[in-house]
């Protein structure tokens, strides 16, 4: 593994995280917001695996597996919530979504 690629991996990870943050902040469709969160989790995974590879340990990969597990369960619960909200309100817009407050 050529070590000069290390800043490239970290830079790509940071850029993906930033793009995902834009998606979470600027989009109003809850499905797209969820996908942006997945994007950010993927960026974190890439950073973890990169550091694990360049420090010669397996810790990063184990962390990444745990992150994937958390992401999968988060998607399951989140999509169930979105379908539930959509069934009640028939709208997919985060700005109109105030019923979770009560």
């Amino acid at each position: 593994m050529s070590f000069h690629l290390f800043p490239g991996f970290i830079g790509l990870s940071a850029a993906m995280f930033g793009i995902g943050a834009v998606g979470v902040l600027a989009r109003r469709n809850p499905l797209v917001v969820f996908m942006s969160i997945e994007l950010m989790l993927n960026a974190a995974n890439l950073a973890l695996v990169t550091y694990g590879r360049f420090t010669h340990t397996m810790d990063g990969q184990v962390f990444a597996i745990v992150v994937i597990t958390v992401a999968a369960s988060e998607v399951v619960v989140g999509l169930a919530l979105i379908t539930g909200v959509f069934r009640r309100g028939r709208r997919l817009d985060l700005d109109d979504l105030a019923e979770l407050r009560e």
């Binding site: 940071a14 996908m35 694990g52 590879r53 010669h56 184990v62 999968a72 369960s73 619960v77 959509f86």
Partner: protein
């Protein structure tokens, strides 16, 4: 190897942009799948074969199939396109650029990579070449079931809770007595 990294990183970046920019939700999902497949290639470059397989099977397979299924079920129409002049988009983009710069600065702080392949950082001495010991999946499994046994079990508990919670949410009101 640099060429492969360049191509895969470019595809991953474009896929990530597509998720946020795309007008239809389904296109966002497809862009995310492209991004995840490119990430699997990057994982292969990083000698993480098991994670690459998990990335394809679990993420691009299971999670994204669930996403596409929900999109088909709810069938959201075309969304309003992101307008660069809108205030929230400006704030979001500014925050993201700032965050990216800070993240790169912080993570690369004090770490130098010499052309000879040596990795100097302020983190301290690194563990002895665990990656190169024997087969990747074998090493990962050993670590997962010895050193990291507790996080492994906790994550299985988390999956159980998520499954129960999803079933409860999906049953809706009429199921409650």
């Amino acid at each position: 190897m640099t060429a492969i990294f360049g191509v895969a990183a470019g595809i991953a970046f474009l896929g990530a942009l597509g998720v946020v920019v795309a007008r239809r939700t389904l296109y966002s999902a497809l862009a995310l799948i492209v991004n995840m497949l490119a990430l699997a290639v990057l994982f292969l470059l990083l000698d993480a074969q098991f994670l690459a397989a998990v990335q394809v099977i679990v993420y691009a397979g299971a999670v994204m199939v669930l996403f596409v299924f929900i999109i088909a079920l709810l069938s959201p129409g075309a969304q309003a396109r992101l307008r660069p002049t809108e205030l929230r988009v400006l704030i979001g983009a500014g925050a993201a650029v700032l965050f990216t710069v800070v993240l790169v600065r912080l993570t690369l702080n004090g770490i130098t990579v010499t052309p000879g392949g040596h990795f100097h950082g302020t983190i301290g001495p690194f563990a002895p070449l665990l990656v190169d010991r024997h087969g990747q999946v074998q090493t990962l499994g050993e670590q997962l079931f010895t050193t990291f046994l507790l996080p492994f079990e906790v994550s299985s508990l988390l999956l159980l809770v998520a499954a129960v919670g999803a079933v409860h949410l999906a049953r809706g009101r009429q199921a409650t007595p």
